[in-house]
């Protein structure tokens, strides 16, 4: 019982979105298809569909975030939900009110969905275990564990440029060890059945036994990027210099920073991606980030459609109605 996949209901439908791990390929494809139906909403004159009218979505961000928070807020608003943002720094948690006490109070105010970001791995699971049955939880990043909507928007972006996942070679470059984004991307890409998934970084940034997740490990950038269809760069946090993980940003950029020269060994139509925010001159050269193969900004706008899809799906609306109601606007 304990190991039941908490995010699925008895029929196997999404009730929460906590992690990509354990989702079926078809479930991921369904989310991407639904997101496709929302992509035009942003271009309409009235950028709203009434799917979540009367629902209340609470953004609970225990960690700072600009992009994820904003796109979740926009997504909820475009679905006509009421959105509440709890600023955790000034909230009662600092006064010793426990996480779960705080949730009970919010539940008492008749909320329908919690979008949670927290610094501890497993925080979203903990919350999902304890919320009332009518409430859904969406993980917006928990510690080093998972960031499922980021991975889904990355898959969405890849699918818009590459017709099929199966033949692809994808390289994820950078701080795999501390990255929840990388973990979710790895689960998504292996579930979608890509042929060659690589992680590229020095040993200090690669967790032991990462091969068990279905990736090939490279320590040399040029070997790792050879013939790649997609290159995903990860953000390097400045504090990694302190833990004796890296000597300096300069040396990191020298060996693992993405430049046009290093990118030359990849396929000519390679996609360059980054979950943002980017550190220019640390993990990626401006020339590449702003160059023709970069889809970094496209990822951001796709994030809204993907988050709309996830929110509407976990709150139980069939995606077909979604489209027709959206078109009726």
């Amino acid at each position: 019982m304990r190991r039941r996949n908490l995010q699925l209901d008895a029929q196997g439908h999404l009730r929460h979105l906590l992690t990509i791990e354990g989702l079926k390929r078809q479930q991921i494809v369904d989310i991407l298809d639904t997101a496709e139906s929302f992509i035009t909403v942003g271009d309409q004159q009235v950028r709203k569909v009434p799917l979540l009218r009367g629902k209340t979505v609470v953004n609970l961000f225990f960690e700072a975030s600009t992009r994820t928070l904003t796109t979740f807020e926009l997504a909820a608003k475009r679905l006509s939900a009421d959105v509440l943002k709890i600023n955790i720094n000034t909230s009662a948690t600092v006064k010793g009110e426990s996480l779960l006490d705080m949730l009970q109070n919010l539940e008492a105010m008749q909320c329908d969905m919690f979008v949670v970001r927290h610094g501890d791995s497993g925080a979203a699971h903990l919350i999902a275990q304890h919320v009332a049955p009518h409430i859904s939880v969406i993980n917006a990043g928990d510690g080093r564990h998972a960031h499922p909507t980021q991975a889904l928007l990355d898959m969405f972006t890849i699918r818009r440029h590459k017709s099929e996942f199966a033949p692809l070679t994808v390289a994820i470059v950078g701080d795999i060890m501390h990255s929840r984004v990388a973990r979710s991307q790895i689960h998504a890409l292996t579930t979608l059945g890509i042929s060659d998934l690589r992680v590229v970084a020095p040993k200090t940034l690669i967790p032991t036994q990462v091969e068990g997740l279905g990736v090939h490990v490279y320590h040399n950038m040029k070997e790792g990027l050879h013939d790649a269809d997609v290159v995903i760069m990860l953000r390097l946090q400045k504090e990694r210099m302190q833990g004796a993980l890296l000597p300096s940003e300069q040396e990191y950029f020298q060996d693992y920073g993405l430049t046009n020269e290093k990118l030359a060994v990849a396929k000519p139509n390679v996609l360059v991606m980054h979950p943002g925010p980017i550190n220019r001159g640390v993990e990626i050269d401006s020339e590449v980030a702003d160059g023709p193969r970069s889809v970094i900004l496209e990822q951001v706008s796709n994030g809204i459609a993907v988050r709309m899809a996830v929110m509407s799906m976990v709150l139980g609306r069939p995606p077909i109605n979604t489209e027709s109601e959206g078109a009726a606007q």
């Binding site: 426990s98 927290h118 501890d120 791995s121 497993g122 510690g143 564990h145 929840r180 973990r183 036994q209």
Partner: protein, 425 residues
């Protein structure tokens, strides 16, 4: 009170006894086995037909939370849980608040346990003052106050010179040193075994070498200083192999393992089950098997509970922020009996791991010959029962074994000839 225990299967590993016989008790001591001694008239008879009669269990590590954390548990509540579980002697680590680095704290713990009267509580004194790893604690005074050994608990002594001096001094006082082998910089910030599960869940890892590197350092210091040393709650196959090698080379070291490490692995964490957050962390299947083999071969001689009762809130947190530890007194004997069912140990061997072996490490006896102290555990080896929060006596209900069905249940516990627990009279 004069008591006769009639018709039970007496298993006393220290004396090599395993036979169906009667046990007669008066004035807190065993006064006869078999035939009733002349002139003895029992005030109470315990019918032990079909049951096992063995020495009271000795648990080498139980945190009782008092002084300072009475909201988690008290000496009275936990010794009561011990009595229910057949445990008559508990060894309490020094990491209380205040730390047990003065006789006053040791006296308080002793006094409270005497007041409660459910179990004998032995204290380990601090190895260094306030467990800071800088200045030696007053080990002579701690020994005089009744401490059976010294330990720095889970706080590593980083400075190797301090550790060497502490061992030398403990050796001069003829006190055994109890060691928790964990390199603090390698374990820093970790909460799960560094391996397949930690990488999947994104949990900061504690590598196996955090244990084995510490064991390597301590073994060399033990050899150098000649101190009597005991390794507490080893978790990895590599570490127990190093202990086996040292024992083979003639070094006098002993080791124990926590019962849960013989059954659970990192896989049991599932999706962040904080009940499986323990320290040292649950490791791999291979480590679990290695610990079982070490037990079979006698490298590891004792099994302890590593009892750590917590309040509910301590476990209601994201895995890395939850408090490590299991409320484990009540599953100690049932888990060890399961090892018998799984053919890891014979029944007398299993009982030895809970009685005479740990007793020897703290310098006390644990046997049931005529003239011995009547600490006795009687259990029904065939009774099935399920662990639930309702039937737990410990104030802490934090256990990954809730809902498990166990075979073997304590029916009576005697402490110095007094019945401190019985299912029915």
């Amino acid at each position: 009170m004069k008591i006769s225990i009639l018709g039970g299967r007496l298993i006393d590993p220290a004396n090599g006894l395993d036979q169906i016989t009667d046990v007669h008790i008066a004035a807190g001591k065993i006064i006869g086995l078999g035939n009733t001694p002349a002139g003895f008239e029992a005030g109470q008879c315990i019918n032990a037909n079909g049951q096992i009669v063995c020495p009271g269990l000795v648990d080498l590590r139980a945190c009782l939370r008092e002084p300072s954390q009475e909201y988690k548990a008290t000496i009275a509540s936990e010794t009561c849980a011990a009595a229910k579980s057949g445990i008559t002697t508990l060894v309490c680590p020094p990491d209380t608040d205040p730390v047990a680095d003065t006789p006053a704290v040791v006296d308080l713990i002793h006094h409270r346990s005497m007041q409660a009267g459910f179990a004998r509580v032995l204290s380990l004194g601090a190895l260094t003052q306030n467990l800071e790893g800088k200045q030696l604690a007053e080990m002579g005074a701690l020994k005089a106050a009744g401490c059976v050994g010294v330990s720095n608990a889970h706080t590593a002594v980083k400075n190797t010179q301090v550790m060497r001096r502490a061992m030398e001094y403990a050796s001069s006082q003829d006190l055994p040193v109890f060691l928790h082998a964990e390199d603090p910089s390698l374990a820093n910030g970790g909460c799960a075994h560094e391996g397949a599960v930690s990488v999947r869940l994104g949990l900061p890892g504690i590598p196996e070498i955090a244990e084995s590197i510490a064991v390597a350092r301590e073994l060399q210091l033990i050899e150098q200083t000649g101190v009597r040393a005991h390794f507490c709650q080893l978790s990895s196959e590599r570490a127990v192999k190093m202990i086996a090698r040292a024992q083979h080379d003639g070094l006098s070291v002993t080791a124990d393992v926590a019962a849960h490490q013989l059954f659970l692995t990192e896989m049991d964490i599932g999706y962040f089950d904080s009940q499986c957050h323990v320290r040292p962390p649950l490791r791999t299947q291979r480590d679990r098997d290695g610990l079982r083999t070490a037990l079979k071969r006698g490298t590891v001689s004792s099994i302890c509970s590593d009892h750590q009762p917590h309040d509910t809130a301590a476990k209601l947190a994201p895995f890395p922020s939850s408090a490590p530890g299991i409320s484990a007194l009540e599953t100690l004997l049932p888990l060890v009996l399961r090892l018998v069912d799984e053919d890891v140990l014979s029944l007398p061997e299993a009982i030895a791991c809970l009685t005479c072996h740990p007793a020897q490490i703290v310098g006390m006896g644990s046997h049931l010959a005529v003239g011995d102290c009547a600490d006795v555990c009687i259990f029904d080896p065939e009774q099935y029962w399920e662990l639930t929060t309702e039937n737990m006596v410990s104030q802490g209900h934090n256990s990954p074994f809730l809902g498990w069905e166990f075979k073997g249940r304590v029916t009576h516990t005697l402490l110095a000839g007094h019945i401190v627990f019985s299912t029915k009279t």
